[in-house]
């Protein structure tokens, strides 16, 4: 599903440049549940952004669903994002003046789906994350855990191939963290590829594979007990 070879990425900082990813090789198959761990500043988000087509790499190859990602323009990237990828962010990134339902329906709008159908599908997904009754609430009327579940519903609503989550539990307490992780596990059990960034061991342990990143290189890549249990 995701295949990365000798990937490099630097950010220009003034005259210098900051070499963030220094040759990453990573292969994630369809249906995997992978977490990336590493200390702050180790390049986790950078990697996820490249995988999510929000940023471009400098060197190496990146294949998404078998397609080589090269010479992306914003339009192509937008289409691929909409088609293959769902995003979940640490700070939820819901649009504040839209209801939970409208937020979930937004990716479908960019897909070109009609309003009625869109809202119906969005409602189904809200039901799936257990928030059907909150459909018409604005984000600021929801708790952190609820917001993140709305965000997950929004990431899922286009039936993407991969869900990318950048510290989805970073802003949540332990009980809500568990409910969000349960949700991600459910999604993965249904066959979706899930790619999570975290720096919490408990969270990582609930995924099936942990990739550890340090100073821009992968220092370990192991399957967890959870993967063997299935």
């Amino acid at each position: 599903m995701i295949k990365i070879e000798k990937l490099h990425k630097s950010y220009p900082i003034g005259k210098d440049s900051l070499h963030v990813l220094k040759g990453i090789d990573l292969h994630i198959k369809e249906g995997e549940f992978v977490s990336i761990m590493g200390s702050s500043g180790s390049g986790k988000s950078t990697l996820l952004n490249i995988v999510g087509l929000l940023d471009i790499h400098d060197e190496g190859h990146y294949y998404l669903n078998g397609q080589l990602i090269k010479d992306m323009n914003e339009k192509k990237a937008a289409l691929l994002r909409n088609k293959f990828l769902g995003f979940v962010f640490q700070s939820f990134n819901l649009i504040s003046y839209k209801t939970a339902l409208e937020n979930v329906a937004l990716p479908l709008y960019y897909k070109g789906m009609g309003r009625k159908e869109r809202l119906q599908v969005a409602l189904d997904y809200l039901e799936k994350v257990g928030l059907k009754d909150w459909a018409n609430h604005l984000p600021n009327e929801l708790s952190g855990g609820q917001k993140q579940r709305v965000a997950i519903a929004r990431a899922l609503v286009t039936k993407p191939k991969v869900v990318l989550a950048d510290e989805p539990t970073g802003a949540l307490d332990s009980t809500t963290t568990d409910s969000v992780m349960d949700l991600l596990k459910d999604i993965n059990n249904e066959g979706m590829t899930v790619f999570v960034i975290t720096h919490e061991e408990e969270v990582a342990e609930q995924t099936k594979r942990i990739v550890r990143l340090k100073d821009g290189v992968i220092i370990s890549d192991e399957f967890t007990k959870a993967s063997k249990a299935v």
């Binding site: 649009i95 960019y110 950048d166």
Partner: protein, 414 residues
């Protein structure tokens, strides 16, 4: 273009407009004010214009009045301070010399007399005139007719009087036509009664009698009190005035540089001043209105630009969810156009409303300052289309800025 008719597009715009209430209000007020000013100023300018037109009324405005005074320079053996009279020969001379320039030339003799009818009487101006006067200043005849060529030829003792004179001299309901009135103890048959004229009135309440009759009755021989000269369209009235006076000086042995010998009043020049003022007023109106409009539209652009910055995160989210740069651009431009259009419509509505009130308060009655303060529909349409075009153009900048927003920048977690 399809996206214009997509209810989702409008849903999105409605959402973002509602969200940014203050911005929406400010932009709308900016453009509203501009178009409001344009409508009101144009309407008021037009009202003033109409008002002036009414003052000019039925008078041939490119006219000069000429009369004689006393010379101020000795010339050809004549002393300074000589008094002299215009003559009928002058009229013929001017007519033949200025065939192309002069449209109408009316010699006039006037006096004041007691006018009596039965037991009623009053003192009024009596004027000896040619039928041509009716062309220089249209008489609003209530009944009967004005002096005609026959009256002139037959030195008929006929008169045309004003409505006021009729009221003063006749009993209520009495028929004036065919009745006789005594002017200076001589009987004249009333052949017409005229009402107050529109605009400029040279004579007030006057009994008009044939020029030839006046000459015979008052023994004026070839003398003329004064004359009205109306120029043909396109003639430089100021030039004509000085040319005519120079000719007259020649005929009367007056020094060419004499400043006092002839008096004249150039109505055309006076009116040109007013017209110039009106043109200036119109120009000012356009200038102020359009400047305000442009300022308003720029305000919209500016505020959209600010909101693009404020909405960076939102735009980033949309981008991450699959919004193409084009869809972002379309949305921002459409917001701009929508805001300008709504504001423009409100401005036109309020402006028209104010004009309506102005019309109701200042535009009524005979001596109203403003008459029919209105704005042409085409002007409104042009203003409106301009607004939409400007709205689009000005929306392009923030729209472009929005497409430059990179999702990672917008979404980076600090």
């Amino acid at each position: 273009m399809r996206f214009l008719f997509d209810s989702d597009t409008w849903q999105e715009i409605y959402g973002s407009i509602r969200k940014n209430r203050v911005r929406t209000a400010i932009t709308i007020i900016g453009v509203l004010w501009g178009i409001f000013l344009l409508v009101v100023l144009l309407g008021a300018a037009r009202g003033v214009d109409n008002g002036f037109k009414k003052i000019f009324g039925d008078f041939a405005t490119n006219s000069v009045f000429v009369w004689t005074q006393a010379t101020d320079t000795p010339f050809k053996g004549f002393q300074e301070g000589r008094r002299f009279r215009l003559k009928m020969n002058d009229i013929e001379a001017l007519k033949s010399e200025y065939q192309e320039e002069i449209k109408f030339l009316a010699p006039r003799n006037q006096t004041n007399n007691l006018i009596v009818h039965d037991f009623k009487s009053g003192n009024f101006q009596v004027s000896g005139d040619y039928p041509i006067l009716d062309q220089i200043q249209k008489k609003k005849l209530i009944v009967g007719r004005f002096i005609n060529e026959n009256d002139i030829l037959s030195t008929a003792k006929v008169t045309v009087i004003s409505e006021n004179m009729y009221k003063q001299l006749f009993d209520k309901g009495e028929k004036p036509i065919g009745e006789y009135i005594k002017i200076n103890s001589i009987n004249y048959k009333v052949v017409g009664v005229y009402g107050p004229s529109n605009g400029i009135d040279l004579d007030g309440d006057t009994a008009f009698i044939p020029f030839t009759t006046f000459k015979r009755v008052y023994n004026t021989a070839n003398n003329i009190d004064w004359m009205v000269i109306t120029a043909n369209p396109g003639i430089d009235i100021e030039q004509m005035e000085s040319d005519v006076i120079l000719t007259l000086k020649n005929l009367h042995n007056v020094h060419p540089e004499d400043k006092r010998a002839f008096g004249s009043f150039n109505l055309g020049v006076q009116i040109a001043k007013v017209t110039g003022f009106l043109t200036g007023l119109q120009f000012m109106t356009w200038f102020v209105g359009i400047a305000t409009l442009i300022a308003g539209v720029f305000a919209i652009g500016n505020i959209l630009l600010i909101t693009v910055k404020e909405r960076t995160q939102e735009i980033g989210i949309r981008r991450a969810l699959g919004a193409t740069p084009k869809s972002i651009r379309q949305q921002i431009i459409l917001e701009s156009v929508f805001l300008t259009t709504v504001a423009g419509m409100l401005g036109i509505i309020f402006g028209s409303f104010i004009l309506f009130i102005i019309d109701a308060t200042f535009g009524q009655g005979d001596d109203a300052a403003l008459i029919n303060p209105t704005v042409n529909i085409p002007i409104i349409i042009i203003a409106f289309v301009t607004l939409i075009v400007l709205g689009t153009l000005i929306g392009l900048i923030p729209a472009h800025m929005a497409t430059l927003v990179r999702p990672i920048e917008a979404l980076r977690e600090e």
